[in-house]
């Protein structure tokens, strides 16, 4: 089933050249991660009131911690499991370079979902936009032939679960997060 979806999506490569060009950019290591990180930067400055700004800044901190711990989780899982990339086992038209690390879980999906879930906690609209962007990133990796759908789904689940855990921990370690924001406020950066 997993491989069939990859083959079905990858069959589209070369059919619509402009779509391939667009996906080539979305799947890049530099487009979506930068776009999602810029969302966090915007959220940091964009609240209209002090209270809303603090809520958003807390969400940005949670998202950043979520990315860090999500990456750690991927490293730990990668130490125990290895899954070949789809292009190893299938005859695919690659739109990307050939990564050598484990296909499972997809690290980009962890990063995308962690940022989106972190934002979702403070701003549903921006959170939804981030989820769409992260979803496109994941889908483009399947289309490009470098990830299986289950790699993406597992990565997204890890990202969301890690952010939920980080949110609980951040509540537990109050007033530390508030102190970080208040310190930044003294420098007029929060």
């Amino acid at each position: 089933m997993d491989a069939a979806i990859v083959r079905w999506l990858n069959d589209g490569v070369g059919v619509i050249p402009w779509l391939d060009d667009a996906i080539n950019v979305v799947v890049s290591d530099y487009f979506t991660p930068v776009a999602l990180s810029l969302l966090l930067l915007g959220v940091w400055f964009g609240g209209k009131t002090t209270a809303s700004r603090e809520l958003h800044q807390r969400a940005a901190l949670i998202a950043m911690l979520g990315v860090a711990f999500g990456n750690l989780a991927v490293q730990i899982i990668g130490a125990f499991t290895f899954r070949d990339r789809p292009f190893i086992n299938e005859s695919l038209e690659l739109l990307f370079y050939q990564p050598t690390d484990s296909s499972f879980p997809a690290n980009p999906a962890v990063v995308g979902a962690a940022i989106a879930a972190g934002l979702w906690g403070a701003n549903r609209l921006l959170g939804a936009a981030a989820f769409v962007l992260a979803g496109l990133w994941g889908a483009s990796r399947v289309y490009a032939g470098v990830s299986y759908p289950t790699d993406i789904l597992a990565g997204a689940a890890i990202g969301i679960i890690v952010v939920m855990a980080v949110t609980l921990v951040v509540r537990r370690i109050e007033p530390l997060p508030t102190m970080v924001i208040q310190l930044a406020q003294r420098f007029y950066l929060a």
Binding site: V34, S37, G42, R186, Y188
Partner: protein, 142 residues
């Protein structure tokens, strides 16, 4: 690697300038705007973002594995932080110069970004630093 790393820094710097302009225009932090009129600030911000991404991806999608000169996650992380911080610094310093008014009094209380509706960053900073010094913990007092 060096070219890609440098280009990545420039991409993030330009796009961060744009995002900050859009965000502070939305928040009404007028003393952080390069242009006084909010619609122009949105347009300028969008221009920075589009310019950064267009320039970076002009020659293609840059699919380079990190084993062959691409940037891995850690590399991207610190470069993003450095470049975004540079964009923040550039914004606060430039807008302080652009929006400076002679004889304008600094804020009386450190209200964080909220103060930057009416005061420039450079006007405000001494108030924040003073309050930090006055409220320093006992172990820092002699």
């Amino acid at each position: 690697m060096e070219d890609l790393g440098r280009d990545y820094l420039i991409l993030v710097f330009l796009a961060s300038l744009g995002v900050i302009q859009i965000a502070v225009a939305h928040a009404g932090l007028t003393k952080l705007l390069f242009l006084k009129r909010t619609p122009l600030a949105y347009a300028l911000g969008l221009t920075f973002i589009v310019a950064g991404f267009t320039w970076f991806f002009w020659d293609g999608p840059r699919h380079i594995p990190d084993t062959a000169g691409g940037l891995d996650g850690n590399d991207q992380g610190w470069r993003f932080a450095v470049s975004a911080l540079a964009a923040v610094s550039f914004t606060v310093l430039t807008t302080s110069a652009l929006n400076h008014r002679a004889g304008h009094r600094p804020p009386t209380t450190p209200n964080g970004l909220e103060s930057l509706r009416d005061h420039t960053y450079i006007e405000s900073l001494p108030t924040g630093l003073r309050s930090l010094w006055e409220e320093r913990p006992p172990w820092m007092r002699r």
